[in-house]
Each structure stands twice: as structure tokens, then as C-alpha cells.
């Protein structure tokens, strides 16, 4: 059976298992209809021109999470940021793992989506925010239809959340291929500040397809720093749909670190619904083998006097493929917008490919918008310079690539996270450099 049919026929069973007597039931029912109508996106759609899902949809995924697979903390510790205190919401094959997690209801909610979707005390928030930022595109709709588990984070007014929140999805796949559909809802009220790290990590070589939706609402003057560390397992595919709605004077940043996987697609959407908003989108992509990563960004400037900054760096080796499609819309009312976008790529193999496409739709006449993309090789004269000082070729290459991604690394505000990512990059480049950036 094709995956689409399988999903459609599973929906009834799924709905019967969760509470059908809720507001969410109607949302899910609408969503499955949308998915049924639209199906999976194909390369015929402009937004999917360079990314084909065909191959990954052929697998026979099991669409319901199975029993929790026991994992010992010591075996997965390295995937956490552990040198500092943090909240943790951990899932194994889509199921909440209480013994690896540390949630809270003390003055804020850092807990589970399943609780938020079913308990009456969250009803108002759910009715107000759930599925209010996600688009009606087929993949977010599919996630909405099956949404039952994920992270639920609600930070009240005037709160500085001192510990970062880690949302970690482990997949083991047990005996077969697994499809996961985590759903996160994050509401940050006025003047509050939160840092969130989201990580997807396969622990085995079993295939996994994750279709994730995260909705983030940043109210007036809220600050949200979101870091995504994406799966590097070669049998893992990830479709990440993230939607941020920002109110006036809020500052939201999303850093996306894509280090591989079979196929990764990031649909990252920012909507500016107020004045003097800042939106920051940064990414480092390092690929090899036949890996494919597609960054599809949207910044929608709706109101005047706002800014957006996009900076994506990519390093592509072997037969890997990268896509960057950055869309900026500046509405007629959004005067004095400052929108910047840059996408720089290095191809370190003759067989690697990058498709990069800035897409600007500007309807206001008093704005500053700039975009630039570069595709190049490592600078030969810089290589000779470094080698002439005794730095061997491999290390010199690594140092140049580090340096290349430094602009993005320098804005990571959690030092432990920065160190960890630097280490992952070093690992990927197969070197050990004696310093952090």
C-alpha cells in the first residue's frame, strides 16, 4: 500500500485512540481532508523543484509509535548538552521517555503536547494557538491530522527562563522503518526569554521519516533563541516545518545545523505581526555521501520598521546536494523594512550540487533589501598560505571551513552548545583542532 493510503486508512484508528470529543478533533479532521486532497508534494511544485520525496516515500513505514524502547542515559548522554542545567523533553520513537526527561509546571509549562491537547486546563491556549501558525500545505496538514505528542512550552509574562530547554527525538526504529510526526507548540508571552535546543538523532541504521511541525508564538518584546541540530544518520529523513509568529519588538532567532541524513527539508517561516521586530535565520550545512538538504525559508514582513537577517553557509562534499530557497515578502505597509539574506556555499567535490534561489517580493517603496549568494571552492591561495606555515592540507581545509561557518557559529549564545557543535563539525571534517571558535 502506498504511504498516502496507509496514512489515510490509519487516521480512523488513530482518532479512536485519542479523545475525539475535543476542539482538536475538528482541526485534525480538516487537516486529513487537506492532506487527502493535496497528497505528498511533487517536483512539479515550484517549492519542491529540487527535492524529490519519491525515494523516501517508498519505504514501508510503521505509522504508529510502538512501545517505548528502553534507553539508558549513559548511552545517549553525548547527544545532550549536559554540562549545564536544562529542562529536557525526550522522545524515543515518538513516545515520551519520562526517565530521560525533566519537565516543569513551576511558574511555566515545559511539558508534553499530549497533556496540553487533552487536559481541560490547557484548552484555552490550545484553542487560541494550536494550528494557528502552521500553513495548510500538505505536510504540515498531515502532521496536524496525526498530532498527539511533542513538546508544549508556555512561558508566562516577564520571565527569563535561565535553563535552556532541550527537545530530543531519538529513533531506534526497533525492527522496521518508522514514521514520526512530532508536534510542538511554544508560546512565549510578553517580555519573556527562552532558549530551546531541538535535536533529532537516530540510534540505529533503521530508516526513519520525521515530519515535524513546530509553532512558535513570540509576544511583545519576547526573545526566543531556537537551535536545531538535525539528524546525521544516513537512513534518517526529516521534514521540519517551523512557523514563527512574532509580535512587536520581539526578537526570534533560529539556527539550523544540518549535518547529513538521507534527506532533510526545512520549511522555516517567519511572520512579523507588529513593528520593530527582528527575525534571525542562520544555518550551517555540512554534507557528504549522497545526502540532500533543502532549506526553504520565508520571512513575511507585514508591518513597518522591522528587520530580518538570514545567513546560511553550506559545505558540500562527495555526491551531496544542497538547496536554498529564501523568500522574502515585504508588504506595502511594511515601510522601512531592513531585510538581508546571504547564502554562501563551498563545493569540495566535483560531484556535489547546490541550487540556490533568492526570491524577493517587495511591495513597499522605502525599504532596504539585499541578498547575495556565492558558490565557490576553497581558496587555493589561502590553502598555500596556511600550508607554508606548516598546517597540513587536511587541517588547512578544515580550518578554512571552520572559518567559513564562523559567522553563524559566533551568534550561538549557549557556550556549551557552541562547543558541542564545533566538535560535531570537527568530527565531520575528520580533524582535531586545538581551539574553539
Amino acid at each position: 500500500m502506498e504511504l498516502k493510503e496507509k496514512l489515510l486508512s490509519s487516521f480512523m484508528v488513530f482518532e479512536n485512540k485519542v479523545d475525539i470529543d475535543t476542539y482538536v478533533h475538528d482541526v485534525r479532521t480538516d487537516a486529513i481532508k487537506t492532506f487527502e486532497e493535496k497528497g505528498f508534494p511533487s517536483k512539479k511544485e515550484e517549492a519542491w523543484k529540487y527535492t524529490s520525496l519519491n525515494k523516501i516515500l517508498k519505504e514501508d513505514y510503521s505509522v504508529f509509535p510502538k512501545q517505548e524502547n528502553a534507553i539508558e542515559y549513559r548511552d545517549v548522554k553525548k547527544y545532550f548538552i549536559y554540562d549545564i542545567d536544562s529542562y529536557k523533553i525526550v522522545f524515543i520513537d515518538g513516545k515520551y521517555s519520562s526517565h530521560l526527561s525533566q519537565t516543569t509546571h513551576d511558574g511555566m509549562d515545559v511539558c508534553l503536547m499530549s497533556a496540553a491537547l487533552s487536559k481541560p486546563k490547557y484548552r484555552l491556549v490550545i484553542e487560541h494557538y494550536f494550528n494557528k501558525a502552521a500553513t495548510k500545505d500538505s505536510l504540515p496538514a498531515l502532521n496536524t491530522a496525526f498530532s498527539s505528542e511533542g513538546a508544549y512550552i508556555h512561558i508566562p509574562k516577564n520571565k527569563l527562563v535561565e535553563k535552556p530547554i532541550q527537545i530530543i527525538h531519538f529513533s531506534t526504529g526497533n525492527e522496521s522503518a518508522t514514521m514520526l510526526q512530532p508536534r510542538n507548540l511554544i508560546v512565549v508571552e510578553e517580555n519573556s526569554h527562552v532558549q530551546i535546543i531541538e535535536r533529532h538523532q537516530s540510534l540505529t541504521d533503521n530508516s526513519v521519516l520525521t515530519n515535524s511541525v513546530t509553532e512558535i508564538f513570540a509576544k511583545k518584546r519576547a526573545i526566543v533563541d531556537y537551535y536545531k541540530i538535525q539528524n546525521d544518520n544516513s537512513n534518517a529523513s526529516l521534514i521540519d516545518n517551523t512557523f514563527l509568529k512574532q509580535k512587536q519588538e520581539s526578537v526570534c532567532s533560529v539556527h539550523t545545523f544540518a549535518f547529513g541524513g538521507k534527506l532533510t527539508r526545512n520549511n522555516l517561516n517567519f511572520y512579523q505581526e507588529g513593528q520593530r521586530i527582528d527575525s534571525i535565520l542562520k544555518g550551517v550545512t555540512i554534507l557528504g555521501n549522497k545526502q540532500h538538504v533543502d532549506h526553504n525559508t520565508l520571512v513575511h514582513h507585514i508591518e513597518p520598521n522591522c528587520e530580518s537577517h538570514q545567513d546560511y553557509k553550506g559545505i558540500f562534499g562527495e555526491n551531496s546536494t544542497g538547496v536554498f530557497n529564501g523568500k522574502i515578502i515585504v508588504e506595502k505597509e511594511a515601510q522601512k523594512t531592513n531585510a538581508f539574506q546571504s547564502n554562501n556555499n563551498i563545493l569540495i567535490s566535483d560531484k556535489a550540487t547546490i541550487n540556490t534561489k533568492p526570491q524577493l517580493e517587495i511591495f513597499a517603496d522605502d525599504v532596504k533589501c539585499s541578498h547575495g549568494c556565492t558558490i565557490g571552492q576553497l581558496d587555493e591561495s589561502a590553502m598555500f598560505y596556511m600550508r607554508s606555515r606548516g598546517i597540513p592540507e587536511k587541517e588547512a581545509k578544515a580550518l578554512l571551513m571552520y572559518a567559513f561557518s564562523n559567522d553563524v557559529m559566533s551568534s550561538v549564545k549557549i557556550p556549551e552548545l557552541k562547543q558541542r557543535i564545533t566538535k560535531i563539525i570537527a568530527n565531520k571534517l575528520g580533524v582535531n583542532l586545538g581551539f574553539d571558535l
Binding site: Y385, G390, I391, L399
Partner: protein, 250 residues
């Protein structure tokens, strides 16, 4: 120390060096002068191991070993240093991190452990002081936005850190004002010993007032056409290169 025998080198089939012979012994300072396009920078690059150039004839010996086939980093590990005419900007890598990496890679090649961080810091400070380099400067990205003088001072700072056996200074005086020239020359002189050697490549006499050469060679059209002592440099300063060209072409 350095022995260049009948060296021919070309880039993309264009012959540039056409039979260079040069011997540099420990403790000596050699100056290589010559008009534009005579092959001075090529000679420096070929000795340092730039792969764009192909050695078509002859060889380069360093301390008795043929180094033609060695990679640039291997030559550096043996003690060859090239101060670039145009130092390369490397955004994102600080001066400190760069030199740390260079030193520790050289140590690794010699089977040594990394230099302890404390010793490294001390050494960096000591050498920065020698070149009158501001500490703040050390945390800036390598050569990025540096003035001409800062770039050259940074080259000599790296030389001071790496303590090479043979330092080739390619047009280190270009882009330097008189104060910077004095600082750079002073740095080079302090690093000089009976065990190491310096090859200064320059257009002009003025650097040679500060770094006094034992021998002066004139490179023209890919060959050393005249050698002498420091007086030759004065003569060139006075008379230019035309008389040399005439002598050669006659």
C-alpha cells in the same frame, strides 16, 4: 643550508625560472633584487612549495636533502618560511588561533606534544612585544582589514613564533612606512643567528639599510645575472636596472 642547482620552473607551460644557481649558508643574509617580472616571487614560491609551479629541471636542496617533491607544509616543518608579499586574508580565524595551529602542527610533525597553553601564551606575548604588536590585534581575524604595515608585521610575528632555519622575505618592505620598516627590520635582525639564514627579496635598497646583506644577487629574466656584496645594491639604487639589462642583452 639552501642549495639551488640549475633550477628551471614554469607555470602553465610558461617558463619563468631558467637556470637558477644559489647557495645560502647558515648565518648569511642574501638579497635578491631585480626588475618587475624577473622571477623573484616565483623563486620564493617554488622554494616554499607552491604547487602551481612545475620544476622542469634542476633541484632544491635543503640541509642536504632534496625537497622538490615535498609538500609546502613538510618544507615548513623542516624550517622553510616564506613571508608573503601579499599575505592572505582569512576571515574567521584569529591571529592567535592560526599561529597556535601552525606551531602545534609543526610540533606534531616532529613527534612532539602540543605546546602547553601557558607557554604558548607567553611566547605569543614575547614575540608580539618584539614586533610592537598590540595584544588586541592578536584576536582579530588573520589579515582581515589589516593595513599593509600590519600585514607585514604579522608575517614577521609568525616568523618569530615559528623560528625557521631559512626565512624568505618576499617584498616585505612594500607597503611599509618608515616606522613600520624599522620595526620589521629590527625584528628580523633580532631573530638572526649563526644557525639561520635570511633571503630578502626586494626592489629597493632601503630595506637593505636595515637588514644588511652579505650577498646581493640580481635576478633578470629567470636567471641570476650578477652577484656581489652590499655595494651592488647601492649601485642598483643609483643606476637602476637598465645597465644590467644592457649587459645581459649585449
Amino acid at each position: 643550508m639552501l642549495k639551488i642547482n640549475n633550477l628551471h620552473a614554469s607555470v602553465e607551460d610558461k617558463s619563468i625560472l631558467k637556470g637558477i644557481n644559489l647557495e645560502v649558508k647558515p648565518g648569511e643574509v642574501h638579497a635578491i633584487m631585480g626588475p618587475n617580472g624577473s622571477g623573484k616571487s616565483t623563486l620564493a614560491s617554488v622554494v616554499a612549495g607552491k604547487e602551481d609551479y612545475e620544476v622542469t629541471k634542476g633541484n632544491i636542496e635543503f640541509n642536504g636533502e632534496d625537497i622538490d617533491e615535498l609538500a609546502a607544509e613538510e618544507r615548513a616543518h623542516k624550517g622553510v618560511f616564506l613571508s608573503f608579499q601579499y599575505p592572505i586574508e582569512i576571515p574567521g580565524v584569529s591571529v592567535t588561533n592560526f599561529i597556535k595551529t601552525a606551531i602545534n602542527e609543526s610540533r606534531k610533525a616532529q613527534g612532539l606534544e602540543d605546546m602547553p597553553a601557558k607557554d604558548m601564551l607567553k611566547l605569543i606575548r614575547e614575540k608580539a612585544d618584539l614586533l610592537e604588536i598590540d595584544r588586541k590585534f592578536l584576536s582579530r581575524s588573520l589579515n582581515e582589514g589589516f593595513s599593509g604595515g600590519e600585514k607585514k608585521r604579522n608575517e614577521i610575528f609568525q616568523m618569530a613564533m615559528l623560528e625557521p632555519k631559512l626565512a624568505i622575505l618576499d617584498e616585505t618592505d612594500s607597503g611599509l612606512d618608515i616606522d613600520a620598516l624599522r620595526i620589521v627590520a629590527n625584528g628580523v635582525n633580532k631573530l638572526k643567528s649563526k644557525d639561520n639564514a635570511v633571503v630578502v627579496i626586494t626592489h629597493y635598497q632601503r630595506l637593505l639599510d636595515h637588514i644588511v646583506p652579505d650577498f646581493v644577487h640580481v635576478l633578470y629574466n629567470g636567471k641570476i645575472v650578477k652577484s656581489g656584496t652590499k655595494e651592488l645594491a647601492h649601485e642598483l639604487e643609483e643606476k637602476g636596472y637598465d645597465w644590467i639589462k644592457e649587459e645581459v642583452n649585449a
